[in-house]
């Protein structure tokens, strides 16, 4: 049995973030499906793994972690010599550029893209009405963030470097949601962002994550 266990749901963006990282690294893992519709993520068993009652939770032997970005950071470092190189090795200065763009995802991109994904992708899925004002507000916010990305990606093939890293990977789940909604225009109307989106969503590891949704 694999030492690594991921407890989560294939529909959860945060779970997908971790799965993408594990597939990129080519490490074996066991996926433990959490029945969110039945509230399993709020059960005592699950709360012992993540006291915030959110998926995913992660185990590697007796190490237990939660927060998808902490999990992926751990996996990328612990298994640095396996699979895709997701980090920037070398000096502290070189590594700092990766940390920077990981923070940009967390602090600038995540909030407006998550809100748009919720309003335009998940709410219709669950049959709840979309809040048009929130959509407009967050499309404006996300547009400003993507303007910065457009400039950055005209200078650098990927966000932190000229190769795919964790910083790019972090964006995949929300981007995939947005591509299935009217908000995709924000991505498609910016040529460098569009090219980057097409490249990162075409990665084989990401296709494996999407395939899990069909099981």
């Amino acid at each position: 049995m694999a030492a690594i266990k991921v407890h989560g749901s294939p529909l959860s963006t945060a779970t997908q973030r971790v799965l993408a990282c594990l597939y990129e690294k080519g490490v074996d893992f066991q996926f433990v499906s959490i029945n969110m519709a039945a509230g399993e993520h709020k059960s005592d068993n699950f709360l012992a793994l993540n006291p915030f009652g959110q998926v995913p939770a992660f185990e590697d032997g007796d190490l237990k972690l939660f927060e998808s970005r902490a999990i992926t950071h751990y996996v990328a470092h612990e298994y640095a010599d396996k699979g895709t190189q997701l980090l920037i090795p070398g000096s502290n200065k070189e590594a700092a550029v990766l940390t920077l763009w990981q923070e940009v995802e967390a602090q600038q991109f995540n909030s407006p893209s998550s809100t748009l994904a919720w309003e335009l992708f998940y709410k219709p899925f669950f049959g709840t009405a979309t809040d048009a004002a929130k959509v407009e507000e967050n499309e404006t916010k996300l547009g400003k963030v993507l303007d910065v990305y457009e400039t950055r990606l005209s200078q650098s093939r990927y966000l932190a470097s000229d190769y795919f890293t964790l910083a790019d990977l972090y964006h995949l789940p929300n981007i995939q949601c947005l591509l299935a909604t009217s908000a995709k225009k924000l991505l498609e109307s910016r040529p460098h962002v569009n090219a980057w989106v097409k490249e990162i969503t075409a990665r084989p590891a990401w296709s494996k994550v999407l395939a899990m949704q069909k099981q």
């Binding site: 972690l65 927060e67 612990e78 200065k93 700092a96 550029v97 920077l100 923070e103 940009v104 967390a106």
Partner: protein, 219 residues
């Protein structure tokens, strides 16, 4: 060459970085950015941070923004001096620090930040604090602090029995928070309150807190 930090002493994000620099006993120069003149939203500052936010750190040819990214860089660069903030000698402890750094970023900050905004920034725009926004986020923050209360009943600090960057990341926004009527959320939870009193009394933070007088100048 000394580090240059572009920012403002009363800004919580600038203070986050300065606290980290002090913990690591690292020399730096604070280059003031005139927020009220909008300096951070124009060139040349925009060339340093295209998101138009302080702080920015320059270390020779490296230029960084995002206070948490800067703090991580400083903690790694100076890992052999000052106080150990990242537990790099234990992979398990280092992973725990990362978890609770993410908790600050993903759970704590989104709830506390709008409260700070309503009490400190909205008045500058001629608005009264929006009680609906405050109440909604106080509710969210309370639930996060319930988890903290339980964790801090088992470990002295968030990531374990050791002070780390995860605790440090909470200091500057919580400092302003404690000046608002919502401070009860911290004071009513005994382990959270004890943790707050401990981490906010650390000399490195005390050096920074004295300049965090946003709001007082406005009267």
């Amino acid at each position: 060459m000394a580090l240059k930090l572009y920012g403002a002493a009363l800004s919580p994000c600038t203070s986050r970085v300065m606290t980290c620099l002090h913990e690591k006993e690292a020399d730096f120069e604070l280059v003031p950015v005139d927020l009220f003149a909008g300096e951070h939203k124009q060139l040349p500052f925009l060339a340093k941070n295209p998101f138009g936010q302080i702080p920015v750190l320059e270390d020779g040819d490296l230029s960084l923004f995002e206070s948490r990214a800067i703090s991580v860089y400083v903690a790694e660069k100076f890992k052999e001096t000052g106080n150990d903030l990242i537990r790099h000698q234990s992979f398990k402890e280092a992973a725990e620090v990362k978890v609770w750094m993410e908790v600050e970023s993903q759970q704590y900050h989104p709830a506390i930040s709008p409260i700070i905004f309503q009490f400190f920034a909205a008045p500058l725009q001629g608005k009264s604090p929006d009680q609906a926004i405050i109440d909604e986020n106080a509710g969210k923050l309370g639930k996060v602090l319930d988890v903290y209360e339980e964790k801090l009943s088992r470990t002295k600090y968030l990531a374990g029995d050791f002070y780390s960057l995860a605790d440090l990341f909470h200091l500057s926004f919580t400092y302003y928070f404690m000046k608002t009527p919502c401070a009860d959320l911290i004071n009513e939870r005994p382990h959270v309150k004890a943790w707050w009193e401990d981490i906010s009394s650390r000399p490195a933070f005390q050096k920074v807190a004295s300049a965090m007088n946003f709001g007082e100048k406005m009267n």
